[in-house]
C-alpha cells in the first residue's frame, strides 16, 4: 500500500513543465509570476471572506462561506503546485490536489444554485434605496412630530408654571385675606359683643331698679334685653363656627371620663337651673384628640339637651361611652322635645332651627359647631329622634384614636 502511494507520488519518470516550455526564460517567468500572483490572490480573497464572515455572520449561511473559501484556497493551491511543476514534476500530487479541488468546486457549484432562491429574494439596491428614502422620510416626520411634541410640552410647562404661580399668588392672597379675616373676626367678636353685653346688663339693672311700676316699660326693657341676648348669642355662635376653620389642632391623650366631668362642671349652673338629672356611665377610655374640640362637642350637645327639653319637664340626660369592636361610641340621650326624623340630616346644617316659636332661644348654630368640630377630630355623629320623646346622638370614635391601657402606662413605667 505504502509502495503504491509512493509510486503514485514519485517524480523520476516525468519531466518538469519547464521542459515543455523549452526552458524559455520569458515563458517560465510568465507562468511562474502568473501562478504565484494567482495563488497569493486566491489566498487573500478567502482571508477577506473569512474576515467578513467573522464580522457579519448574518449575511450568508456559515457553510456557504466556508465552502467558497475552501474552493478559492484549493484553486489557489493548484496554481502554487503549477508554479512548482515548472521545475519539479510532482504531477501525481498535482492530480490529487486537482481532484480535491474538483470535489470542492462541485459542492460549491451545487451550493451556489441552492443559495440562488434566497439570494434572489435579497432586496435590490434600488429597493433598498427606496426603502431607505421612505425610512428617512418617516424619520423626518418623526423628528418633526417630536419637535412639535417638545414645543407643546414646553408650552404646557410654561402654562403649568404660570398657573402654579397664579395659584401661589392666589393662595398667598387668600392666606393674607384669611389672616386679616381671622383678626377681623377676633376683634369683631369682642367689639360686636361688648355693646350687646352692655345693653343686656344695663337693661337688667334698669329692670331691677325700675320703680315706675309701669308694666309696659318693664316689658319694653325685657324685650330689649331678650333681643340683645339673642343677638349676642348669635354673634358668639357664628364666630365660634368660623373660628373652627383656623383652629390649630393639638391632639393630647384625654380621658373621656375626665372630659365629661369637666363639661358637667362647666355646665353646673344651667343644669342646676333646670334641675337636670344627669346619668353618666363613661368607661375608662383614653383618646388622642384635641381637648378644645372635644369639650366643644360635649358641651354643645349637653346644652342642646337642656335647651330642647320643655320647661315643664325635668331634663334627664344620659351620657354613656364604651368601647366597640372598631373604636368607641359616646352616646348622649335626652328626654327633650325631639324632632321629626325627616330632619335628621338637616339638623346639622348652620342656622337650622326646628322649634322656632316653641319657647326655645336657639341660634341654629350649636349642631353646626358640633359637626365642624367632629370633622376636625375625625369622628362621626348620627342622630335618632322622636318628637316629644327625646333625642339620641351617637358619636363614633375611630379605633386608631384610642390609646390602649398598655400604651398609656408606658411613660409611667419609663419614669420608674
Amino acid at each position: 500500500m505504502l509502495d503504491a502511494i509512493r509510486f503514485y507520488f514519485e517524480t523520476n519518470s516525468f519531466l518538469a513543465h519547464g521542459y515543455c516550455l523549452t526552458w524559455r526564460t520569458d515563458l517560465i517567468a510568465l507562468h511562474a509570476l502568473s501562478d504565484l500572483t494567482i495563488f497569493l490572490s486566491y489566498f487573500i480573497i478567502p482571508t477577506a471572506m473569512l474576515y467578513l464572515y467573522y464580522r457579519r455572520r448574518d449575511l450568508v449561511p456559515d457553510r456557504i462561506f466556508l465552502l467558497f473559501s475552501a474552493f478559492i484556497i484549493a484553486c489557489g493551491l493548484t496554481h502554487l503546485v503549477g508554479f512548482i511543476t515548472l521545475w519539479d514534476p510532482i504531477y501525481g500530487f498535482e492530480g490529487v490536489l486537482k481532484a480535491g479541488t474538483a470535489v470542492i468546486s462541485g459542492l460549491t457549484a451545487v451550493a451556489s444554485w441552492m443559495l440562488m432562491p434566497a439570494a434572489l429574494k435579497l432586496p435590490s439596491t434600488k429597493t433598498l434605496k427606496h426603502k431607505n428614502s421612505a425610512l428617512a422620510s418617516a424619520m423626518l416626520q418623526q423628528r418633526q412630530a417630536n419637535a412639535e411634541l417638545e414645543q407643546i410640552k414646553a408650552e404646557l410647562e410654561t402654562r403649568i408654571k404660570e398657573r402654579t404661580r397664579d395659584l401661589e399668588l392666589k393662595a398667598e392672597a387668600l392666606e393674607k385675606m384669611n389672616a386679616s379675616l381671622s383678626q377681623y373676626a377676633h376683634f369683631a367678636s369682642h367689639d360686636l359683643q361688648e355693646p350687646l353685653r352692655k345693653i343686656v346688663t344695663f337693661t337688667e339693672i334698669a329692670m331691677e331698679q325700675d320703680k315706675s311700676g309701669d308694666p309696659e316699660l318693664t316689658m319694653y326693657l325685657a324685650k330689649i334685653n331678650e333681643s340683645a341676648r339673642r343677638a349676642r348669642t348669635l354673634v358668639r355662635d357664628i364666630l365660634r363656627h368660623a373660628e373652627l376653620d383656623r383652629h390649630k389642632i393639638e391632639p393630647r391623650e384625654l380621658s373621656l371620663r375626665m372630659e365629661t366631668e369637666k363639661v358637667l362642671d362647666n355646665l353646673e349652673l344651667p343644669i342646676g337651673e333646670r334641675q337636670g338629672m344627669i346619668e353618666a356611665e363613661i368607661d375608662d377610655i383614653t383618646v388622642l384628640a384635641d381637648p378644645t374640640l372635644v369639650s366643644q362637642v360635649l358641651q354643645n350637645l349637653v346644652v342642646n339637651a337642656l335647651k330642647y327639653t320643655p320647661a315643664e319637664r325635668v331634663p334627664h340626660i344620659s351620657l354613656k361611652a364604651s368601647r366597640t369592636g372598631d373604636g368607641a361610641i359616646y352616646v348622649i340621650e335626652d328626654n327633650g322635645m325631639g324632632f321629626d326624623p325627616a330632619f335628621s340630616e338637616r339638623i346639622f346644617e348652620p342656622f337650622t332651627r326646628l322649634h322656632a316659636g316653641a319657647g326655645v332661644s336657639g341660634t341654629g348654630m350649636g349642631l353646626a359647631i358640633v359637626t365642624k368640630a367632629l370633622a376636625l377630630l375625625g369622628w362621626s355623629i348620627s342622630v335618632t329622634s322622636q318628637e316629644n320623646t327625646g333625642t339620641r346622638f351617637v358619636i363614633r370614635i375611630p379605633g386608631p384614636q384610642l390609646v390602649c391601657a398598655a400604651d398609656a402606662a408606658l411613660p409611667d413605667m419609663a419614669a420608674q
Binding site: 377676633h186 376683634f187 367678636s189 369682642h190 359683643q193 361688648e194 353685653r197 352692655k198 343686656v200 346688663t201 337688667e204 339693672i205 349676642r232 358668639r236 364666630l239 365660634r240 373660628e243 383652629h247 349652673l269 378644645t292
Partner: protein, 120 residues
C-alpha cells in the same frame, strides 16, 4: 373687706363691677380701678388685692398672652380673673406657670360674683 382691683379701659366696667360687688358684699369691699396695665403695676407695687379683674383686650395689648407676663411678677397671691366679651377666650390662655387664672364671660360676671366667685 374684699380688696378688688379692676384693670379695664372702660369706665362703665368700673360702674358695673361696683354695682355687682355692692349687691354681693354691701359696703364691705374696696374697688380700685386702673385703666392701663402700667397704672395697675404702679398700684400693685404699693399694695395687694384679694382679686384682680383684668379685661382680656386691653389696648395696646392683644390679649392675656401679652398682659399676663407683664403682671405676673406683681400679683402675689391675688385671684386673677380675666374678663372678656369674647367668649372664645379659652383659646388665648397664656402660660401662667402654675398660677390659677380664670377666664369668665363679662355677661356672666354678675351671676358669678353673686354665686361666690370671690369667696373661695
Amino acid at each position: 373687706m374684699k380688696q378688688v382691683l379692676l384693670i379695664d379701659d372702660d369706665v362703665m366696667e368700673h360702674k358695673l363691677l361696683e354695682t355687682f360687688l355692692f349687691r354681693r358684699y354691701g359696703g364691705a369691699f374696696e374697688l380700685v380701678w386702673a385703666n392701663t396695665v402700667s397704672a395697675a403695676i404702679e398700684i400693685l407695687r404699693t399694695r395687694s388685692f384679694d382679686a384682680i379683674f383684668i379685661d382680656r383686650i386691653l389696648p395696646p395689648h392683644l390679649g392675656a398672652r401679652e398682659t399676663f407676663p407683664l403682671l405676673a411678677g406683681h400679683i402675689g397671691s391675688s385671684q386673677v380673673i380675666y374678663i372678656s366679651s369674647d367668649t372664645s377666650s379659652y383659646q388665648w390662655q397664656p402660660d401662667s406657670n402654675g398660677v390659677p387664672i380664670q377666664f369668665i364671660d363679662k355677661l356672666d360676671m354678675r351671676d358669678r360674683i353673686m354665686n361666690g366667685l370671690l369667696d373661695a
